[in-house]
Protein backbone atom coordinates (compact mmCIF):
# COMPACT_ATOMS: atom_id res chain seq x y z
CA UNK A 1 0.00 0.00 0.00
CA UNK A 2 2.73 2.46 1.04
CA UNK A 3 4.76 1.35 -1.96
CA UNK A 4 1.81 2.06 -4.24
CA UNK A 5 1.20 5.47 -2.67
CA UNK A 6 4.88 6.34 -3.05
CA UNK A 7 4.96 5.28 -6.69
CA UNK A 8 1.85 7.39 -7.30
CA UNK A 9 3.33 10.37 -5.49
CA UNK A 10 6.53 10.28 -7.59
CA UNK A 11 4.52 9.97 -10.83
CA UNK A 12 2.33 12.90 -9.73
CA UNK A 13 5.43 15.00 -9.15
CA UNK A 14 6.58 14.08 -12.63
CA UNK A 15 3.18 14.96 -14.10
CA UNK A 16 3.34 18.48 -12.65
CA UNK A 17 6.69 18.93 -14.39
CA UNK A 18 5.52 18.91 -18.01
CA UNK A 19 8.81 20.11 -19.39
CA UNK A 20 10.68 17.17 -17.91
CA UNK A 21 8.07 14.75 -19.27
CA UNK A 22 8.35 16.30 -22.74
CA UNK A 23 12.14 16.07 -22.64
CA UNK A 24 12.05 12.47 -21.43
CA UNK A 25 9.97 11.50 -24.44
CA UNK A 26 11.33 13.74 -27.17
CA UNK A 27 15.08 14.00 -26.53
CA UNK A 28 15.99 10.35 -27.23
CA UNK A 29 14.06 10.50 -30.53
CA UNK A 30 15.88 13.70 -31.55
CA UNK A 31 19.24 12.16 -30.74
CA UNK A 32 18.43 9.02 -32.70
CA UNK A 33 17.42 11.22 -35.64
CA UNK A 34 20.79 12.92 -35.39
CA UNK A 35 22.49 9.52 -35.54
CA UNK A 36 20.36 8.61 -38.56
CA UNK A 37 21.70 11.54 -40.55
CA UNK A 38 25.27 11.05 -39.27
CA UNK A 39 25.36 7.43 -40.50
CA UNK A 40 23.08 7.81 -43.49
CA UNK A 41 25.59 6.42 -46.00
CA UNK A 42 27.41 4.07 -43.65
CA UNK A 43 25.46 0.88 -44.29
CA UNK A 44 24.54 -1.13 -41.20
CA UNK A 45 26.53 1.05 -38.78
CA UNK A 46 23.37 2.97 -37.92
CA UNK A 47 21.63 -0.25 -36.90
CA UNK A 48 24.43 -1.18 -34.51
CA UNK A 49 24.82 2.26 -32.95
CA UNK A 50 21.13 3.16 -32.73
CA UNK A 51 20.38 -0.19 -31.12
CA UNK A 52 23.08 0.39 -28.48
CA UNK A 53 21.85 3.92 -27.89
CA UNK A 54 18.31 2.70 -27.24
CA UNK A 55 19.84 1.02 -24.19
CA UNK A 56 22.22 3.81 -23.17
CA UNK A 57 19.81 6.78 -23.30
CA UNK A 58 17.38 5.54 -20.65
CA UNK A 59 20.28 4.52 -18.41
CA UNK A 60 21.88 7.97 -18.53
CA UNK A 61 18.64 9.96 -18.30
CA UNK A 62 17.14 8.00 -15.41
CA UNK A 63 20.42 8.06 -13.53
CA UNK A 64 20.42 11.86 -13.69
CA UNK A 65 16.73 12.32 -12.91
CA UNK A 66 16.87 9.95 -9.96
CA UNK A 67 20.02 11.29 -8.37
CA UNK A 68 18.58 14.82 -8.41
CA UNK A 69 15.14 13.66 -7.18
CA UNK A 70 16.65 11.70 -4.30
CA UNK A 71 19.02 14.52 -3.42
CA UNK A 72 15.99 16.80 -3.19
CA UNK A 73 14.34 14.38 -0.76
CA UNK A 74 17.44 14.64 1.38
CA UNK A 75 17.97 18.40 1.24
CA UNK A 76 14.33 19.49 1.69
CA UNK A 77 13.89 17.31 4.76
CA UNK A 78 11.18 15.12 3.24
CA UNK A 79 13.43 12.05 3.54
CA UNK A 80 13.98 12.62 7.25
CA UNK A 81 10.26 13.09 7.67
CA UNK A 82 9.35 9.97 5.67
CA UNK A 83 11.69 7.92 7.84
CA UNK A 84 9.74 8.99 10.96
CA UNK A 85 6.55 7.52 9.43
CA UNK A 86 5.64 3.83 9.11
CA UNK A 87 7.31 3.78 5.66
CA UNK A 88 10.00 1.16 5.15
CA UNK A 89 13.19 2.09 3.32
CA UNK A 90 12.43 -0.33 0.51
CA UNK A 91 9.00 1.29 -0.02
CA UNK A 92 10.82 4.45 -1.02
CA UNK A 93 13.52 2.81 -3.13
CA UNK A 94 11.14 0.51 -4.98
CA UNK A 95 8.72 3.42 -5.34
CA UNK A 96 11.37 5.28 -7.31
CA UNK A 97 12.31 2.15 -9.24
CA UNK A 98 8.73 1.45 -10.30
CA UNK A 99 7.71 5.07 -10.99
CA UNK A 100 10.73 5.87 -13.13
CA UNK A 101 10.61 2.37 -14.63
CA UNK A 102 7.10 3.19 -15.87
CA UNK A 103 8.28 6.54 -17.22
CA UNK A 104 11.13 4.69 -18.93
CA UNK A 105 8.65 2.27 -20.51
CA UNK A 106 6.84 5.16 -22.18
CA UNK A 107 10.16 6.62 -23.22
CA UNK A 108 11.44 3.27 -24.49
CA UNK A 109 8.30 2.52 -26.51
CA UNK A 110 8.36 5.95 -28.18
CA UNK A 111 12.10 5.88 -28.90
CA UNK A 112 12.08 2.29 -30.14
CA UNK A 113 8.97 2.88 -32.23
CA UNK A 114 10.51 5.95 -33.83
CA UNK A 115 13.77 4.09 -34.47
CA UNK A 116 12.06 1.21 -36.27
CA UNK A 117 9.32 3.01 -38.16
CA UNK A 118 10.68 6.48 -38.83
CA UNK A 119 14.40 5.85 -39.00
CA UNK A 120 14.36 2.40 -40.53
CA UNK A 121 16.23 0.58 -37.79
CA UNK A 122 16.31 -3.12 -38.51
CA UNK A 123 17.19 -5.94 -36.14
CA UNK A 124 16.91 -9.68 -36.52
CA UNK A 125 15.26 -9.99 -33.11
CA UNK A 126 12.07 -8.33 -31.97
CA UNK A 127 11.49 -4.70 -31.00
CA UNK A 128 9.71 -5.82 -27.84
CA UNK A 129 12.98 -7.23 -26.50
CA UNK A 130 14.68 -3.91 -27.24
CA UNK A 131 12.08 -2.13 -25.11
CA UNK A 132 12.56 -4.72 -22.35
CA UNK A 133 16.32 -4.11 -22.25
CA UNK A 134 15.76 -0.34 -22.38
CA UNK A 135 13.43 -0.45 -19.37
CA UNK A 136 15.78 -2.70 -17.41
CA UNK A 137 18.59 -0.27 -18.19
CA UNK A 138 16.45 2.63 -16.98
CA UNK A 139 15.86 0.80 -13.69
CA UNK A 140 19.61 0.22 -13.46
CA UNK A 141 20.10 3.97 -13.86
CA UNK A 142 17.50 4.59 -11.13
CA UNK A 143 19.15 2.16 -8.72
CA UNK A 144 22.64 3.60 -9.25
CA UNK A 145 21.22 7.13 -8.98
CA UNK A 146 19.56 6.32 -5.65
CA UNK A 147 22.85 4.97 -4.36
CA UNK A 148 25.08 7.76 -5.68
CA UNK A 149 22.85 10.55 -4.38
CA UNK A 150 23.95 9.57 -0.87
CA UNK A 151 27.43 10.85 -1.65
CA UNK A 152 26.38 14.25 -2.95
CA UNK A 153 25.46 17.19 -0.78
CA UNK A 154 24.52 19.54 -3.61
CA UNK A 155 23.10 19.32 -7.12
CA UNK A 156 26.52 20.36 -8.48
CA UNK A 157 28.08 17.31 -6.89
CA UNK A 158 25.26 15.00 -7.92
CA UNK A 159 25.57 15.94 -11.59
CA UNK A 160 29.29 15.15 -11.50
CA UNK A 161 28.61 11.54 -10.68
CA UNK A 162 27.57 11.25 -14.32
CA UNK A 163 31.17 11.42 -15.62
CA UNK A 164 32.33 9.24 -12.72
CA UNK A 165 29.75 6.45 -12.81
CA UNK A 166 28.10 6.58 -16.22
CA UNK A 167 30.69 7.71 -18.77
CA UNK A 168 33.25 4.93 -18.07
CA UNK A 169 30.49 2.36 -18.59
CA UNK A 170 29.64 3.91 -21.96
CA UNK A 171 33.31 4.05 -23.02
CA UNK A 172 33.98 0.43 -22.07
CA UNK A 173 30.71 -1.23 -23.08
CA UNK A 174 31.99 -2.22 -26.53
CA UNK A 175 30.42 0.60 -28.49
CA UNK A 176 33.68 2.37 -29.34
CA UNK A 177 36.13 -0.52 -29.33
CA UNK A 178 34.92 -4.13 -29.60
CA UNK A 179 35.51 -5.70 -26.21
CA UNK A 180 37.62 -8.55 -27.57
CA UNK A 181 40.08 -6.01 -29.04
CA UNK A 182 40.61 -4.27 -25.69
CA UNK A 183 43.71 -4.70 -23.55
CA UNK A 184 43.16 -7.45 -20.99
CA UNK A 185 42.86 -5.11 -18.02
CA UNK A 186 40.35 -2.91 -19.86
CA UNK A 187 38.25 -5.92 -20.74
CA UNK A 188 38.38 -6.99 -17.09
CA UNK A 189 37.01 -3.62 -16.04
CA UNK A 190 34.43 -3.83 -18.79
CA UNK A 191 33.38 -7.24 -17.45
CA UNK A 192 32.70 -5.68 -14.06
CA UNK A 193 30.41 -2.94 -15.39
CA UNK A 194 26.68 -3.72 -15.70
CA UNK A 195 26.07 -1.60 -18.81
CA UNK A 196 28.38 -3.97 -20.72
CA UNK A 197 25.85 -6.78 -20.30
CA UNK A 198 22.90 -4.63 -21.31
CA UNK A 199 24.69 -3.60 -24.49
CA UNK A 200 25.60 -7.22 -25.21
CA UNK A 201 21.96 -8.22 -24.74
CA UNK A 202 20.95 -5.62 -27.36
CA UNK A 203 23.63 -6.94 -29.72
CA UNK A 204 22.12 -10.41 -29.32
CA UNK A 205 18.70 -9.04 -30.25
CA UNK A 206 20.28 -7.39 -33.29
CA UNK A 207 21.86 -10.66 -34.44
CA UNK A 208 19.42 -13.45 -33.64
CA UNK A 209 15.73 -13.87 -34.43
CA UNK A 210 14.93 -15.69 -31.19
CA UNK A 211 16.03 -14.60 -27.70
CA UNK A 212 19.30 -16.40 -26.92
CA UNK A 213 20.43 -17.93 -23.63
CA UNK A 214 23.31 -15.41 -23.62
CA UNK A 215 20.80 -12.59 -23.82
CA UNK A 216 18.84 -13.90 -20.84
CA UNK A 217 22.06 -14.31 -18.87
CA UNK A 218 22.97 -10.72 -19.67
CA UNK A 219 19.61 -9.57 -18.37
CA UNK A 220 19.96 -11.64 -15.20
CA UNK A 221 23.33 -9.99 -14.55
CA UNK A 222 21.87 -6.50 -15.08
CA UNK A 223 18.96 -7.35 -12.78
CA UNK A 224 21.46 -8.58 -10.19
CA UNK A 225 23.31 -5.27 -10.45
CA UNK A 226 19.98 -3.47 -9.88
CA UNK A 227 19.32 -5.45 -6.70
CA UNK A 228 22.88 -4.89 -5.45
CA UNK A 229 22.62 -1.14 -6.05
CA UNK A 230 19.25 -0.99 -4.26
CA UNK A 231 20.61 -2.87 -1.25
CA UNK A 232 23.57 -0.48 -1.11
CA UNK A 233 21.19 2.46 -1.47
CA UNK A 234 19.07 1.15 1.42
CA UNK A 235 22.20 1.04 3.54
CA UNK A 236 22.76 4.74 2.86
CA UNK A 237 19.31 5.70 4.15
CA UNK A 238 19.93 6.43 7.79
CA UNK A 239 17.08 7.09 10.17
CA UNK A 240 19.47 8.82 12.55
CA UNK A 241 21.92 11.45 11.40
CA UNK A 242 24.34 13.82 13.11
Amino acid sequence: MILLATTGRILRQLRHDRRTVAMLVVVPVLLLTLLYFMYRDAGTTFDRIALTMLGIFPFVIMFLVTSIAMLRERTTGTLERLLTTPMRKLDLLFGYGIAFGLAATVQGVVATGAAYWLLGLSTTGSAGLVVLVAVLNAVLGVALGLFCSAFARTEFQAVQFLPVVVVPQILLCGLFVPREQMAGWLEAISNALPLTYAVDALAQVGRYAEPTADMWWDLVIVAGAVVAALVLAAATLRRRTG
Binding site: M1, I2, A5, R9, R12, T76, L82, T84
Partner: protein, 235 residues
Protein backbone atom coordinates in the same frame (compact mmCIF):
# COMPACT_ATOMS: atom_id res chain seq x y z
CA UNK B 1 5.12 10.88 28.21
CA UNK B 2 8.67 11.93 27.35
CA UNK B 3 11.63 11.40 29.65
CA UNK B 4 14.99 12.84 28.75
CA UNK B 5 17.86 11.73 30.93
CA UNK B 6 21.30 13.36 30.92
CA UNK B 7 21.23 13.79 27.16
CA UNK B 8 24.48 14.82 25.49
CA UNK B 9 24.65 15.50 21.75
CA UNK B 10 27.71 16.53 19.79
CA UNK B 11 27.60 18.04 16.33
CA UNK B 12 31.02 18.31 14.80
CA UNK B 13 33.36 19.01 17.71
CA UNK B 14 30.79 21.08 19.59
CA UNK B 15 28.60 19.86 22.41
CA UNK B 16 25.17 21.12 21.40
CA UNK B 17 23.26 19.55 24.29
CA UNK B 18 25.20 19.31 27.52
CA UNK B 19 23.38 16.92 29.81
CA UNK B 20 19.67 17.71 29.51
CA UNK B 21 17.28 16.04 31.91
CA UNK B 22 13.57 16.78 31.80
CA UNK B 23 10.10 15.24 31.71
CA UNK B 24 7.37 16.33 29.34
CA UNK B 25 3.91 15.57 30.76
CA UNK B 26 1.02 14.00 28.85
CA UNK B 27 -1.87 16.03 27.47
CA UNK B 28 -0.26 19.45 27.83
CA UNK B 29 1.31 21.98 25.50
CA UNK B 30 4.94 22.26 26.50
CA UNK B 31 6.91 25.14 25.06
CA UNK B 32 10.60 24.77 24.29
CA UNK B 33 12.08 28.24 24.38
CA UNK B 34 15.52 29.55 23.81
CA UNK B 35 17.50 31.77 21.51
CA UNK B 36 18.52 30.67 18.05
CA UNK B 37 21.38 28.15 18.31
CA UNK B 38 20.55 27.11 21.86
CA UNK B 39 19.90 23.47 20.93
CA UNK B 40 16.09 23.47 20.55
CA UNK B 41 16.06 21.71 17.18
CA UNK B 42 18.67 19.19 18.33
CA UNK B 43 16.61 18.30 21.41
CA UNK B 44 13.52 17.94 19.23
CA UNK B 45 15.39 15.73 16.77
CA UNK B 46 16.56 13.55 19.66
CA UNK B 47 12.99 13.19 20.91
CA UNK B 48 11.74 12.23 17.45
CA UNK B 49 14.66 9.80 17.20
CA UNK B 50 16.48 11.13 14.14
CA UNK B 51 19.46 12.59 16.01
CA UNK B 52 22.60 10.59 16.76
CA UNK B 53 23.21 11.09 20.48
CA UNK B 54 26.50 10.77 22.34
CA UNK B 55 25.10 9.68 25.71
CA UNK B 56 21.98 9.75 27.79
CA UNK B 57 18.51 8.38 27.02
CA UNK B 58 15.25 9.64 25.57
CA UNK B 59 12.12 7.61 26.32
CA UNK B 60 8.85 8.35 24.55
CA UNK B 61 5.66 6.57 25.69
CA UNK B 62 7.85 4.02 27.43
CA UNK B 63 9.86 3.20 24.30
CA UNK B 64 13.32 4.42 23.32
CA UNK B 65 12.94 7.46 21.02
CA UNK B 66 12.87 6.46 17.35
CA UNK B 67 11.47 2.95 17.98
CA UNK B 68 9.53 1.50 15.09
CA UNK B 69 6.34 1.32 17.21
CA UNK B 70 6.50 5.12 17.74
CA UNK B 71 6.36 5.90 14.02
CA UNK B 72 2.56 5.65 14.12
CA UNK B 73 2.12 7.75 17.23
CA UNK B 74 4.55 10.64 16.85
CA UNK B 75 3.90 13.52 14.46
CA UNK B 76 6.88 15.68 13.58
CA UNK B 77 7.05 19.03 11.83
CA UNK B 78 10.53 20.24 10.95
CA UNK B 79 11.51 23.88 11.07
CA UNK B 80 11.68 24.36 7.32
CA UNK B 81 8.51 22.95 5.75
CA UNK B 82 9.27 19.42 4.57
CA UNK B 83 6.59 18.89 1.95
CA UNK B 84 6.90 18.40 -1.81
CA UNK B 85 6.97 21.78 -3.56
CA UNK B 86 6.00 20.18 -6.88
CA UNK B 87 2.76 18.68 -5.53
CA UNK B 88 -0.46 20.43 -4.53
CA UNK B 89 -1.42 20.78 -0.88
CA UNK B 90 -4.02 18.04 -1.29
CA UNK B 91 -1.61 15.65 -3.04
CA UNK B 92 0.93 16.17 -0.25
CA UNK B 93 -1.49 15.58 2.60
CA UNK B 94 -3.10 12.59 0.87
CA UNK B 95 0.30 11.02 0.39
CA UNK B 96 1.13 11.35 4.07
CA UNK B 97 -2.34 10.03 4.94
CA UNK B 98 -1.64 6.98 2.75
CA UNK B 99 1.59 6.32 4.68
CA UNK B 100 -0.56 5.82 7.78
CA UNK B 101 -3.10 3.75 5.86
CA UNK B 102 -5.68 6.57 5.93
CA UNK B 103 -7.79 7.91 3.12
CA UNK B 104 -8.89 11.12 1.46
CA UNK B 105 -11.39 12.10 4.20
CA UNK B 106 -8.65 12.20 6.81
CA UNK B 107 -6.51 14.31 4.47
CA UNK B 108 -9.34 16.82 3.94
CA UNK B 109 -9.85 17.06 7.70
CA UNK B 110 -6.17 17.87 8.25
CA UNK B 111 -6.25 20.47 5.46
CA UNK B 112 -9.31 22.10 7.05
CA UNK B 113 -7.65 22.06 10.44
CA UNK B 114 -4.83 24.28 9.25
CA UNK B 115 -7.15 26.56 7.25
CA UNK B 116 -5.80 25.62 3.83
CA UNK B 117 -9.04 24.32 2.28
CA UNK B 118 -9.17 27.20 -0.20
CA UNK B 119 -5.57 26.53 -1.31
CA UNK B 120 -5.87 22.74 -1.49
CA UNK B 121 -5.40 22.57 -5.26
CA UNK B 122 -2.42 24.90 -5.38
CA UNK B 123 1.14 23.70 -5.80
CA UNK B 124 3.00 24.05 -2.52
CA UNK B 125 5.82 25.74 -4.41
CA UNK B 126 3.49 28.62 -5.28
CA UNK B 127 2.33 29.21 -1.70
CA UNK B 128 3.53 31.86 0.74
CA UNK B 129 5.95 30.82 3.47
CA UNK B 130 3.21 30.73 6.10
CA UNK B 131 0.92 28.61 3.93
CA UNK B 132 3.78 26.26 3.20
CA UNK B 133 4.47 25.67 6.89
CA UNK B 134 0.75 25.06 7.44
CA UNK B 135 0.78 22.49 4.63
CA UNK B 136 3.68 20.82 6.43
CA UNK B 137 1.72 20.94 9.70
CA UNK B 138 -1.34 19.38 8.04
CA UNK B 139 0.78 16.35 7.07
CA UNK B 140 1.70 15.89 10.76
CA UNK B 141 -1.91 16.11 11.96
CA UNK B 142 -2.78 12.98 9.99
CA UNK B 143 -4.09 10.17 12.15
CA UNK B 144 -4.24 12.32 15.32
CA UNK B 145 -0.83 11.41 16.75
CA UNK B 146 -0.49 10.98 20.52
CA UNK B 147 2.62 13.12 20.51
CA UNK B 148 3.03 16.09 18.21
CA UNK B 149 6.48 17.67 18.01
CA UNK B 150 6.56 21.02 16.26
CA UNK B 151 9.74 22.94 15.55
CA UNK B 152 8.89 26.65 15.31
CA UNK B 153 5.54 26.09 13.60
CA UNK B 154 4.36 29.70 13.78
CA UNK B 155 7.34 31.50 12.24
CA UNK B 156 6.21 33.97 9.60
CA UNK B 157 2.49 33.61 10.31
CA UNK B 158 0.23 36.61 10.75
CA UNK B 159 -1.08 37.19 14.28
CA UNK B 160 -4.63 35.97 13.54
CA UNK B 161 -3.40 32.69 12.12
CA UNK B 162 -0.97 32.29 14.97
CA UNK B 163 -3.79 32.68 17.47
CA UNK B 164 -5.87 30.15 15.48
CA UNK B 165 -3.05 27.62 15.51
CA UNK B 166 -2.46 28.01 19.22
CA UNK B 167 -6.17 27.46 19.81
CA UNK B 168 -5.84 24.33 17.65
CA UNK B 169 -2.87 23.14 19.71
CA UNK B 170 -4.86 23.52 22.93
CA UNK B 171 -7.86 21.78 21.42
CA UNK B 172 -5.58 18.84 20.50
CA UNK B 173 -4.15 18.81 24.02
CA UNK B 174 -7.68 18.79 25.45
CA UNK B 175 -8.31 15.63 23.41
CA UNK B 176 -5.26 14.03 25.01
CA UNK B 177 -2.49 14.78 22.51
CA UNK B 178 0.80 15.81 24.02
CA UNK B 179 2.44 18.73 22.25
CA UNK B 180 6.01 19.97 22.30
CA UNK B 181 6.32 23.29 20.49
CA UNK B 182 9.57 25.18 20.08
CA UNK B 183 9.72 28.90 19.63
CA UNK B 184 12.14 31.74 20.01
CA UNK B 185 9.33 34.27 20.37
CA UNK B 186 8.68 35.03 24.01
CA UNK B 187 5.11 36.21 23.53
CA UNK B 188 4.23 32.62 22.60
CA UNK B 189 5.65 31.33 25.87
CA UNK B 190 2.61 32.56 27.77
CA UNK B 191 0.37 30.35 25.65
CA UNK B 192 2.04 27.14 26.85
CA UNK B 193 1.01 25.03 29.83
CA UNK B 194 4.62 24.39 30.68
CA UNK B 195 7.91 25.84 29.59
CA UNK B 196 11.37 24.45 29.05
CA UNK B 197 13.96 27.19 28.83
CA UNK B 198 17.16 26.19 27.11
CA UNK B 199 20.32 28.16 26.54
CA UNK B 200 23.66 26.99 25.10
CA UNK B 201 22.63 23.38 25.42
CA UNK B 202 21.69 23.60 29.10
CA UNK B 203 18.20 23.53 30.57
CA UNK B 204 17.80 26.65 32.69
CA UNK B 205 14.09 26.43 33.46
CA UNK B 206 11.36 23.79 33.59
CA UNK B 207 8.11 25.06 35.07
CA UNK B 208 4.72 26.60 34.34
CA UNK B 209 4.75 30.15 32.93
CA UNK B 210 3.09 31.40 36.12
CA UNK B 211 5.73 29.84 38.34
CA UNK B 212 8.52 31.22 36.18
CA UNK B 213 6.99 34.70 36.38
CA UNK B 214 6.52 34.45 40.11
CA UNK B 215 10.01 33.24 40.83
CA UNK B 216 11.55 36.00 38.75
CA UNK B 217 9.22 38.58 40.30
CA UNK B 218 8.01 39.96 36.96
CA UNK B 219 4.96 39.49 34.72
CA UNK B 220 7.10 39.77 31.63
CA UNK B 221 8.32 36.31 30.56
CA UNK B 222 11.11 37.77 28.46
CA UNK B 223 12.38 39.63 31.49
CA UNK B 224 11.95 36.49 33.59
CA UNK B 225 14.03 34.55 31.06
CA UNK B 226 16.75 37.21 31.21
CA UNK B 227 16.81 37.15 35.00
CA UNK B 228 17.08 33.37 34.93
CA UNK B 229 20.05 33.58 32.58
CA UNK B 230 21.79 36.10 34.85
CA UNK B 231 21.23 33.80 37.82
CA UNK B 232 22.86 30.93 35.94
CA UNK B 233 25.80 32.90 34.65
CA UNK B 234 27.07 35.17 37.42
CA UNK B 235 28.72 38.22 35.87
Amino acid sequence: MIEVNDLVVERGKREVLRGITCTIPTGLVTGLLGPSGSGKTTLIRAIVGVQIVKSGTVTVLGEPAGSASLRRTVGYVTQSPSVYADLTVRENVRYFAALYGLGAAEAERAIDDVGLASAATQLVGNLSGGQRSRASLACALIGTPRLLVLDEPTVGLDPVLRADLWAKFHALAAEGTTLLVSSHVMDEAGRCDRLLLIREGVLIGDDTPAAIRERAGTDDLEEAFLRRIREQVPA
